[in-house]
């Protein structure tokens, strides 16, 4: 009886939280306009008022979306572990293995600080190098914070395009690396590691899943809230003060060099998606094209310098260079593709 009561309370609590969330979300737009135009009595046509209204609406909206969506994504992710991914991928061949690895890379909880143990554990248990790379690429490239921000600032279509492009890049870059037979460029110690029996899977109750999801919401919000506010503040200023189409010349579809330039600038820029996407969103309003913006975002989020430094521990410089080169090329191609497509 006791167990039933507590699980009933758990689900009632969830239902109540969802209701509160929905209420808060639906009052944001009227509340922000009321604050700016009625309470502060700012004129309707001023750039400053427009920027402020934009900021006051977007910051709480994105923070609320992050809270809700990261919670859902984290609950989903409690069903996946790197150990289970390894068990699924063991014995899979190139091709199908790359596709599965990329998909698992998206849903498996993964922190780039674990890239080395994951790499060793995968390769040592016989998963092909290319398949391992597909997993390692999909995980950071398709970032949950980026998905939520794209959903909030651009809509679900752009979110799906982002996820789809990330998967394509992870699958094809992994397949290419697999074809090139680069095993000799993996640091030698990796092949000598002796693996013991893996620890057994734990059984999770719903209460534990919810608890872990709450923990990860708190962790992520703590990491990104400042970037969200700064990013949206800069975005709001661009929104209010930069004239429309000002960027069409430099970041528009017709500037062919804008895609590689965006990627080159994006790779060393280590920021998180939370800070970059609001700015990119404002840039697109002023004439930057979707492909260029997407390429920039993926270069910033997917190819991060700290992760490369971590991977250097297990990859010889040649392989690391091939890895970065392949991914950068793939991102550039995706950028051109979306500049050519008649979207948005």
């Amino acid at each position: 009886m006791k167990i039933k009561l507590s699980s009933l309370r758990l689900w009632l609590g969830m239902a109540f939280a969802i209701l509160l969330w929905g209420l808060a979300y639906s009052t944001l737009q009227p509340l922000s306009s009321w604050l700016v135009y009625t309470a502060l009595r700012m004129p309707e046509d001023s750039s400053l008022a427009e920027s402020l209204a934009f900021f006051l609406y977007d910051v709480p909206k994105i923070l609320l979306l992050l809270t809700g969506m990261i919670f859902l994504i984290s609950v989903l992710r409690t069903f996946f572990t790197p150990e289970r991914a390894r068990a699924v991928l063991g014995g899979k061949r190139q091709g199908l293995g790359n596709i599965l690895a990329a998909l698992l890379g998206v849903v498996t909880p993964f922190c780039s600080c674990s890239a080395v143990p994951l790499f060793i554990g995968f390769v040592e248990s016989g998963i092909p190098l290319g398949v391992t790379f597909s997993f390692l690429l999909a995980a950071p490239t398709i970032n949950e914070v980026a998905i939520v921000l794209l959903l909030g600032l651009f809509g679900w279509k752009t979110s799906l395009i982002y996820i789809g492009s990330g998967l394509l890049i992870a699958i094809f870059a992994g397949m290419l690396i697999g074809r090139l037979k680069l095993e000799r460029f993996v640091e030698d110690f990796v092949w000598q590691v002796q693996l013991s029996q893996p620890a057994e899977d734990e059984q999770l109750t719903w209460e534990m899943r919810f608890q872990r999801a709450l923990d990860s919401v708190r962790d992520i919000l703590r990491k990104v809230w400042l970037f969200v506010i700064l990013g949206i503040a800069i975005g709001a200023l661009i929104h209010g003060f930069v004239p429309a189409e000002a960027l069409a010349q430099v970041m528009g579809k017709n500037a062919w060099w804008s895609v590689p330039a965006a990627v080159l600038i994006g790779i060393p820029l280590y920021s998180n998606a939370a800070g970059v996407i609001p700015i990119v969103s404002a840039l697109m309003e002023k004439g930057a094209s979707l492909g260029t913006a997407l390429a920039f975002m993926m270069a910033v989020v997917g190819l991060s310098l700290p992760e490369m430094i971590i991977l250097r521990r297990v990859l010889k410089p040649q392989l690391l260079a091939i890895f970065i080169g392949t991914v950068a090329t793939a991102i550039i191609l995706i950028g051109y593709l979306f500049n050519l497509l008649p979207l948005a």
Partner: protein, 79 residues
């Protein structure tokens, strides 16, 4: 004497795990030796795929996350 190992290359989460573990050990007043394992070949002997990992008396009790104080206390007292 309980043997505790913290597996991790020194990332932020590894340090947090160490701090939480030390706190629980102190609060419970158990006799324990805490060792940090930072070299990858050594870490991988435990076959974990994500860090930080926590090993109590030769058994991996968690990996890839920071367990709560209650969880660690339960593992330390259960044995």
């Amino acid at each position: 004497m309980t043997q505790i190992k913290i597996l991790g290359s020194g990332c932020a989460n590894c340090k947090r795990l160490e701090a939480v573990t030390r706190k629980v050990v102190e609060e419970l007043g158990v006799q324990a030796e805490i060792e940090k394992v930072t070299e990858y070949p050594e870490i991988m002997k435990w076959n974990i795929l994500s860090t930080p990992g926590l090993v109590i008396d030769s058994k991996v009790v968690s990996s890839g996350r920071i367990p709560s104080e209650q969880e660690i206390a339960a593992w330390l007292t259960a044995k």
